[in-house]
């Protein structure tokens, strides 16, 4: 099952490393990363495969949100289908 991780907030050193480490801790494989600075804000979108994750989807979401809170960022993980449904016919 694929999911999309979005990370938004103030740019600083180590964001990608921290998010990747967190995902690796739960055995989540990263399929694609795109990252830019949009209007001064750090913006990262990752496509990940959670089918071999050691945690439930809810736990993974909480872990990422917790990491986000520590780093002053907004980090979400959502299943890919919601984006497909909204943006493709």
């Amino acid at each position: 099952m694929n999911a999309i991780v979005t990370v938004l907030g103030q740019d600083k050193v180590g964001i990608i490393a921290a998010v990747c480490n967190c995902l690796a801790d739960y055995n989540v494989n990263i399929l694609d990363i795109s990252q830019t600075i949009l209007q001064g804000a750090f913006t990262m979108v990752m496509a990940v495969d959670v089918s071999k994750s050691t945690a439930s989807f809810g736990e993974l979401g909480e872990a990422l949100a917790g990491l986000g809170a520590q780093m002053g960022l907004s980090i979400r993980i959502q299943r890919e289908e919601i984006f497909d449904a909204m943006h493709s016919i």
């Binding site: 999309i4 938004l8 830019t36 913006t43 959502q78 289908e81 984006f83 497909d84 909204m86």
Partner: protein, 452 residues
């Protein structure tokens, strides 16, 4: 392949523009619970609801977590209770409401709808007993919602029922006077009620429905408002196109959630209700959309036209996004639940008469409107009759949910909190409608040709 811009636009809609699924509603038939013994019937009702809705809230929360989309309410709608209770040998229907309330608490849902009767052409003994029990039923329960259908395009308007509902609304306000007449927020009077509506207070599971269905109501005034900001000053057909595209996206999400909920609960998918349902939160208002279209304040001249365009564009965009559209499907204009409507009513620009005109072109009716506590029952009945006439003639659903708050006068406010918001008390015409209402009888069904 998804692009970053699309992904971020979805995240922004959810995080900043209040995009949410307003409700997942489980429609459930209770016809199998009929029993001559009222205690046994109540037990069967409680048991069936708890068994069928056991996983509803958990499933809703799981979908919320995985898709990252808030699902604000999980609700249950049941067979109009007059049909079920009518089989029991009792004249006291309040225990049926208590059974619904108990079951709703056990399941953890936000509301349960269906303490209802359909009396558009005539009233059975059970219908009348149920209607007369409404004030106590709503005073003694917290989660039960009640709706009465008093008219239809096919049957006309049952004016005896309209007159009775005027009195019942007053009694309900008095029975819940300690909460500013909150009971009336859970009581709606319909013309042309729909059987698959997932929204409260008017949800019930019609007799023509399957045993169980999942209906989903979407929302998203904030998203439409935001999208319109990008076409400021452009012609209205451009605005209509923008609304359509936005409604399409919002509804696609509703369809996805509905299918997912249906699959996980192993309950057939019923409909997606394409509604723009506001909340009292800033940035989630239908009135502010109308103002974005160029009106200084919602309620001024041009409001009806703007609303007609908005309502139609929402339907056109949404209808292609879902395999099955139903329910009320349109823009709601509940005054107390819409921050912009509250502001317009406080300012005096938005009045009852303008709201009535607006209901001719949108879903659903005079909704969540506080009127003075001393408003006569006949005046409330006449407000219902006017609204029912609009629905009857125009072949659409209309409804009235007014709150005659005991002791409150024009200028006062009823605070209900949460999604119900706060309602400024609006003036009604002081001239009497009593002689008209006291005639009773029926307004015959309208002609279906010679339309003008």
């Amino acid at each position: 392949m998804l692009n970053q811009k699309e992904i971020l636009s979805t995240v922004e809609m959810i995080a900043q523009q209040h995009l949410d699924i307003r409700t997942i509603t489980l429609g459930l038939s209770l016809l199998s619970c009929c029993d001559p013994d009222p205690h046994r019937a109540c037990e069967k009702i409680y048991e069936k609801i708890c068994r069928c809705a056991e996983k509803l809230v958990k499933t809703g929360c799981d979908i919320e977590d995985e898709f990252g989309i808030p699902i604000v309410n999980k609700r249950i709608s049941v067979t109009p209770m007059a049909m079920v209770a009518g089989a029991s040998e009792t004249e006291d229907y309040v225990p049926f409401a208590l059974a619904l309330d108990r079951a709703a608490r056990t399941c953890g849902v936000n509301f349960i709808g269906g303490y209802s009767a359909l009396v558009q052409k005539g009233m059975t003994k059970a219908d009348e007993l149920l209607i007369r029990s409404i004030p106590q039923a709503l005073a003694q329960t917290e989660l039960v919602c009640s709706s009465i259908n008093v008219g239809s395009t096919r049957a006309g308007i049952n004016m005896d029922a309209v007159a009775l509902m005027g009195r019942i609304i007053k009694e309900t306000a008095e029975a819940t006077a300690d909460q500013d007449g909150l009971g009336c927020a859970k009581l709606v009077v319909f013309c042309n009620a729909v059987e698959d509506n997932p929204f409260m207070a008017g949800a019930f599971h019609g007799a023509g429905e399957a045993e169980k269905v999942i209906n989903v109501g979407v929302s998203g005034p904030g998203v439409v408002h935001h999208a319109l900001q990008s076409v400021k000053g452009q012609p209205l057909d451009v605005a209509a196109e923008t609304i359509k595209k936005t409604a399409f996206r919002v509804t696609r999400m509703g369809q996805l959630v509905a299918q997912e909920a249906s699959r996980r609960l192993e309950i057939p998918f019923g409909i997606v209700d394409l509604s723009l349902a506001p909340t009292p939160a800033v940035g989630d208002s239908v009135a502010r959309i109308l103002e974005e279209l160029g009106l200084e304040v919602c309620g001024t001249h041009g409001t009806t036209a703007a609303l007609a365009m908005l309502n139609d564009a929402v339907k056109k965009g949404g209808v292609m996004a879902s395999s099955s559209v139903g329910g009320l499907s349109g823009a709601f204009i509940p005054v107390s639940e819409d921050e912009g409507m509250i502001a317009a009513a406080r300012r005096g620009t938005l009045c009852l008469d303008k709201l009535e005109a607006m209901t001719c072109v949108c879903s659903v009716g005079l909704d969540m409107i506080a009127v003075p506590g001393d408003t006569p029952a006949e005046t409330i009945a006449a407000i219902i009759a006017d609204e029912a006439a609009i629905g009857m003639v125009n072949n659409k659903t209309t409804a009235v949910r007014v709150l005659p708050a005991p002791g409150k006068t024009v200028g006062g406010t009823i605070e209900m909190g949460g999604l119900l918001g706060s309602a400024p008390v609006m003036p009604v015409h002081p001239e009497s409608s009593a002689a008209f209402i006291n005639r009773g009888g029926r307004i015959p069904a309208p002609l279906h040709s010679l339309k003008n």
